[in-house]
Amino acid sequence: LTPGPGSAALGVDGNKVVGYYAGGQFGYLYDGTNYTTIADPSGTHLNEAVGISGNDIVGDYQGISESALHGFLFDGTSYYTIDIPGSTQTSLRGIEGNSIVGWYLNGTGYHGVIITVPEPSTLALLTLGAVGLLAARRR
């Protein structure tokens, strides 16, 4: 069951576990049966999967020749980079629904941050509502 030496389990939601292996080179998702590598396409030598909520995973990565961290969100299909504007580093540590917590570093130090991201279901509901309103107005 082990993801191997140089690993740590960092986050859990139900039976799903996220963390890193190979000394932090790759993140992983364990779904209770299988392991899947979690690595942002831009992360070359460090990827941490730190928080999980349903199918959404957050963490951080470093790009080629970089020592600075970037935050990422993986929604089960695509990776999205999340860097706080004006920061030199961003790390995402936890997620619940569409709320993400973490930290960013700028010239005055480390700062805690609460991030809100849009959900596809929210956009879909807005669309349905608007279409319904338009249909009602036409009658």
Binding site: L1, S7, A9, G14, T81, V101, V117
Partner: protein, 173 residues
């Protein structure tokens, strides 16, 4: 007029979906954010969220040790500190689930060691993986919690970090 408005709305929706959820290499995503710093802290980090409650840690002197932890309930901060922890290395809260908080603390000198802990709102319990090699000071700790599931790391006999999961009362390596 209604059809034009509907067309414009649908076109805008398609553009938004394409822009925000397009499958490309690490594209940016639209988001909003607010900064939450512990009052008087030089540095603050937020580590976990559940039920709108947030745990994190802070420090006053930019040493990057973050020896002080807190629970934020949306209105006020409460200190999270394992009794007797080393004053310099302290306690770090990493995960929260309901009223349970998990993390690590350090015992003070001359026996400095890292340990996992669980806090239920009233008392603190030490959580150490039985395979952790106590030869090493940073022998491991608890980093996440969901219900009665804990996850973390321990240092094995070959000084390698290893993941552990507790699924209920079953410990897995």
């Amino acid at each position: 007029m209604g059809r034009k408005l509907l067309f414009l709305y649908c076109a805008t929706f398609v553009w938004l979906v394409t822009a925000i959820f397009a499958d490309a290499a690490s594209p940016p995503i639209a988001f909003s954010y607010v900064t939450l710093d512990y009052p008087g802290a030089h540095d603050t980090q937020l580590n976990g969220i559940n039920g709108g409650k947030i745990v994190g840690d802070w420090e006053t002197n930019s040493s990057t040790l973050f020896p002080n932890s807190f629970l934020y309930d949306g209105a006020s901060f409460k200190s999270i500190a394992f009794p007797g922890a080393d004053p310099n290395l302290g306690t770090q809260a990493f995960g929260i689930s309901g009223n349970l908080i998990a993390g690590i603390y350090w015992t003070p000198s001359p026996n400095i060691h890292e340990h996992g802990f669980l806090y239920d709102g009233n008392s603190y319990t030490t959580i150490d993986d039985p395979l952790a090699n106590s030869f090493y000071a940073n022998q491991g700790g608890v980093f996440g919690i969901s219900g009665n599931h804990l996850v973390g790391e321990y240092i094995d006999s070959a000084s390698h970090g290893q993941s552990f999961f507790t699924m209920g009362h079953i410990l897995r390596h």
